[in-house]
Amino acid sequence: MQITVTVNGVAQTRDVEPRLLLVHFLRDELGLTGTHWSCDTSNCGACVVQYDGQPVKSCTVFAAMAQGHEVRTVEGLGSSGALDPVQQAFSDCHGLQCGFCTPGMMLTARALLDENPDPSDHEIREAISGQICRCTGYENIVRSVRAAALAEHAAREVAGKELAG
């Protein structure tokens, strides 16, 4: 069947099997290998992408279901030159080691901060609790998300002052 899915702002049309999972559509059809595949049972979150702005596990969505929807992957975070504040914070705060869970964690963090720009540590932990990291013990992921929130807060203040000035 033919489907059209908007991925990172670009409409992508492909002929796919109805059973094709979204994670495999992104990886194998579009070559967007930043989204990872790990557990098959929606437990680990390595495959998290944003689906109409919400973090969703792409191993549990058929590509066909994404017809007409907007998907954002790690490749769509930040712009070509600049990192998203979340990406910058993960790098600054050592929020990753092997890097396998990182794209999913960052997309969840981005969605959290879009909805709640000043989350508490507990709210951060709750937001990423559907995702597993085997390397970091979560400490520095929480720190990274907090740092991204602070950086965005500071950027808003500067922008506000410039506007006022």
């Binding site: 059973r19 290998t33 990872h36 098959d40 993960f90 990753l96 013990g137 400490e139 520095n140 929480v142």
Partner: protein
């Protein structure tokens, strides 16, 4: 919040907690993991697995699968037997079926391999293979494996009439027995370190491609030990080693899971030979948990002896080791129980003895994995539980008992009763820092208040405080005592310095997230005074790197890190000779300051490394015997292991009504010697502490009476999330390793090794129980409170 108490006696190396060089690609989703690689014309493999734990194979019919339009080939055990490849040697001098021919011996064992044009079609075709099995009674309970009427699992081995693999012992049995006979008090405890799985986020896989023109085979694979894999492929398959290139791309976590060679890899190699196309195989999560490298599974009966005033006198243990259906532990060949015999721990223990018996059962092979430092995890758990059991029996404070018996700084280097030479440490200071950070006395007061409130019926939570003090022996290892399959455990390092003064370091080890590209650049930077940004670290490709045994057992910094420092010093000495020629002085008249040589007494007469590097490649006339260039190679054979150690304190709250445990605080004070990049070290400790929560409280893979694996997905095999983990509180002490070139000790596994005992001790302290086996799930805690703890290895209540 992470707080760091520093009792450091040395400062971190230059560049300290610099950001990781590898993160630039990872945060952009530009890491390149195995499954990200797509080669032109690549085919996909899938493995058909046994539904039975023990069954005879009567027939395998692959005709319908072969007729599937997208299937290119089907490999069976019979086909492999024709090539002499149906069995492969394990890392412990046993053999293992690549694809079963006679019997299946564990649930999930590999039976056939389908190669198709896409991954979905390969899976579809598995359903078309007809296998006729005759089920046989399985051996599930390791304690019954040696019963006279137990079914014989390994009837493939000639003359085999039972399930016994080996007996092994260490220490002085007679001297230990004598100590026990004369001791005032003895406590004993039977405990299981249950089977767990490393479960890295990326599963295991390989892509094999044989170039039909050149005959060269390239294997991209999730390996922690690329060079060892190349040699083993050569030995197993009779392939010429110079025509094999093993490439480890980015690895999504290893933890020991990616040390071995699995059937799927061998089938991918056979697949490319059969089809002429690249063949990819990557396991799914259930396959990962069922069939690749579990860890632990040690049934231990330990005893500890002491004087009536709490001086430890001796420890002894009998171990029944469940190795599964094939003896496939990734192990040093002279040490079938690995480094388990470091179990006398961190104490001034006059006598110790262990005997270990390995048995076959109808379970997946493995045993050494999951950040275990070659079975030191089991050893530390044993001694740290025994100390608590002794304290429980005698009504002693577990912190005081430990403090009274810890090795004192003046005892180092310390020769243990089991033959180890502990290199360095200040254990009482490390313990003192941990107790102070935790506020131990105040915690005990709070606990007593809470207990009283519980007893008055005002609260349902009980509070527990648990300690552990671990000593690891890591960095395998000295060639004379340590080898794997005859390969000595020394590591090479090559360092090139380009004419413009930039450098490329080539290593045999392979990062799985440890940050090698940063840490090892920092070592070279420190030794040569080049910025780490000007040093590229190459690893994971056997065509581009020198030989070495790989990354596991916390060995990279102790061994490859040593090689890195020493190859840089070799380059520096070459640079000295070139600089001497440039300055027209004798090499002995030059002094090194970071980044340059200057003439003694005249700091202005100096040449930087970049200037020297250019001159070394130029027409400058060099002294006789100097070849030109600065490049050097070094093979580092460590003189001893390194001995990281640490004191851990855990505080838990237990809901007495449900058995639910909440880890409130965790204090970890580690001494891993000189810290090259403290940020990376702390990150590794954080990760290991989370492992400890998983193993102590959550991770269970029991087997039912038919040998069905009941922990085969993340729905059943529970791993800790951010909600189960507290915010870790880290501290440090630093005693540099006296024999390591930069004073570093391994650290990657310290927290995984040291933390489970502290958590278990805390929970048992809360509920005032003597012992219960991990994982302390709510059901297990609740049952323990009723005096009926469960066996956690069997799904039998």
């Amino acid at each position: 919040m992470t707080t760091t108490h520093s009792a450091a006696t040395t400062t971190p190396m230059g560049y300290g907690s610099m950001r990781r060089k590898e993160d630039a690609r990872f945060v952009r989703g530009r890491g390149r993991y195995l499954d990200d690689i797509a080669l032109p014309g690549m085919l996909h493999g899938a493995v058909l697995r046994s539904p039975y734990a023990h069954a005879r194979i009567l027939s395998v019919d692959t005709s319908a699968a072969e007729a599937h339009p997208k299937v290119k080939a089907v490999i069976t055990g019979e086909l492999l037997a024709g090539l002499g490849l149906s069995w492969m040697p394990t890392l412990s001098h046993d053999v293992q079926a690549v694809l079963a021919t006679d019997k299946v011996r564990f649930q999930g064992q590999e039976v056939a391999f389908v190669i198709a044009t896409d991954r979905y079609a390969a899976r579809d075709a598995l359903d078309l293979i007809e296998v006729d099995y005759e089920p046989l009674p399985p051996v599930v309970d390791a304690k019954r494996a040696l019963d006279p009427d137990a079914p014989v699992i390994r009837d493939d081995l000639e003359g085999r009439t039972d399930n016994h693999i080996f007996d092994w012992e260490a220490g002085d049995r007679a001297a230990t027995d004598e100590v026990f006979a004369g001791a005032d008090v003895v406590s004993s405890c039977e405990m299981l370190y249950p089977r767990v799985h490393p479960a890295p986020m990326e599963t295991c896989g390989a892509i094999a491609y044989k170039d039909v023109v050149t005959g060269k085979i390239t294997i991209w694979t999730t390996t922690q030990a690329p060079h060892a894999h190349r040699t083993i492929y050569a030995l197993v398959a009779g392939l010429p080693e110079h025509e094999i290139q093993v490439i480890a791309p980015d690895i999504g976590g290893g933890f020991g899971n990616k040390v071995g060679i699995y059937s799927g890899y061998v089938c991918a190699v056979v697949g490319t030979i059969l089809t002429g196309a690249p063949v990819k195989w990557i396991e799914d999560r259930t396959e990962n948990l069922m069939s690749t490298s579990f860890a632990r599974d040690y049934h231990m009966r330990g005893e500890i002896a002491a004087t009536k005033d709490g001086k430890l006198l001796g420890v002894r243990v009998k171990v029944l080791a469940d190795h599964g259906a094939f003896n496939g532990t990734a192990q040093m060949s002279k040490m079938p129980a690995g480094l388990f015999h470091v179990f006398s721990g961190s104490y001034d223990m006059p006598a110790a003895h262990c005997s270990v018996t390995g048995v076959y059962t109808n379970k997946c092979p493995g045993g050494v994995a999951y950040a275990c430092s070659f079975r030191i995890t089991e050893a530390v758990y044993l001694i740290e539980r025994l100390v608590d059991v002794l304290a429980f029996d005698q009504g002693w404070d577990p912190a005081e008992l430990r403090m009274k018996n810890l090795l004192r700084p003046e005892q180092f280097p310390y020769r243990s009763p089991l033959g180890w030479e502990y290199d360095s440490g200040d254990y009482p200071e490390t313990m003192r820092v941990a107790l102070e950070m935790a506020g131990y006395e105040e915690l005990r007061r709070e606990q007593a208040e809470r207990r009283a409130a519980y007893e008055r019926g005002e609260r349902v939570e009980l509070m527990g405080i648990g300690l552990s003090f671990f000593t690891e022996a890591v960095g395998a290892g000295p060639r004379k005592t340590m080898d794997i399959l005859g390969l000595g455990m020394a590591d090479g390092a090559d360092l090139q310095v380009h004419p413009t003064g930039k450098a490329v370091l080539r290593l045999s080890c392979q990062s799985q997230g440890q940050g090698h590209e940063t840490t090892y650049a920092q070592i070279v930077a420190e030794e040569l005074g080049i910025s780490p940004d000007d040093i590229r670290v190459v690893q994971g490709d056997t065509d581009q790197t020198p030989f070495g045994l790989g990354t596991y057992g916390s060995r990279s910094t102790p061994v490859s890190g040593g090689a890195t420092a020493l190859v840089a010093r070799k380059v520096r000495e070459r640079a000295r000779i070139v600089a001497a020629a440039m300055l027209e002085v004798s090499p002995d008249d030059l002094e090194w300051e970071k980044g340059r040589f200057h003439v003694t007494g005249d700091p202005s007469a100096a040449k930087s490394i970049a200037e020297i590097a250019m001159a070394a490649h130029s027409d400058l006339e060099l002294p006789e015997g100097v070849e030109g260039h600065l490049d050097a190679s070094y093979v580092y054979n460590p003189p001893n292991l390194t001995y990281p150690n640490g004191a851990y304190i855990c505080v838990v709250d237990v809901d007495a009504g449900t058995g639910q445990v909440t880890v409130r605080r965790f204090v970890a004070v580690d001494d891993c010697g000189v810290r090259i990049n403290p940020m990376i070290v702390e990150g590794q400790i954080h990760g290991g502490l989370a492992d400890g929560i998983g193993m102590a409280l959550m991770e269970a893979m029991p087997f039912d009476e038919d040998g069905n694996h009941l922990g085969a997905s993340f729905m059943d095999y529970l791993l800790p999330t951010a909600l189960e983990c507290p915010s870790w509180e880290l501290g440090e002490t630093v005693t540099p390793s006296p024999h390591h070139p930069i004073g570093a000790k391994g650290v990657g596994e310290s927290a995984t090794v040291g933390s489970p005992a502290a958590i278990v001790n805390a929970v048992l302290d809360a509920i005032r129980a003597r012992h219960a086996d991990m994982p302390l799930t709510p059901a297990q805690v609740w049952r323990t409170m009723q005096g009926r703890p469960l066996r956690m290895d069997l799904a039998i209540t």
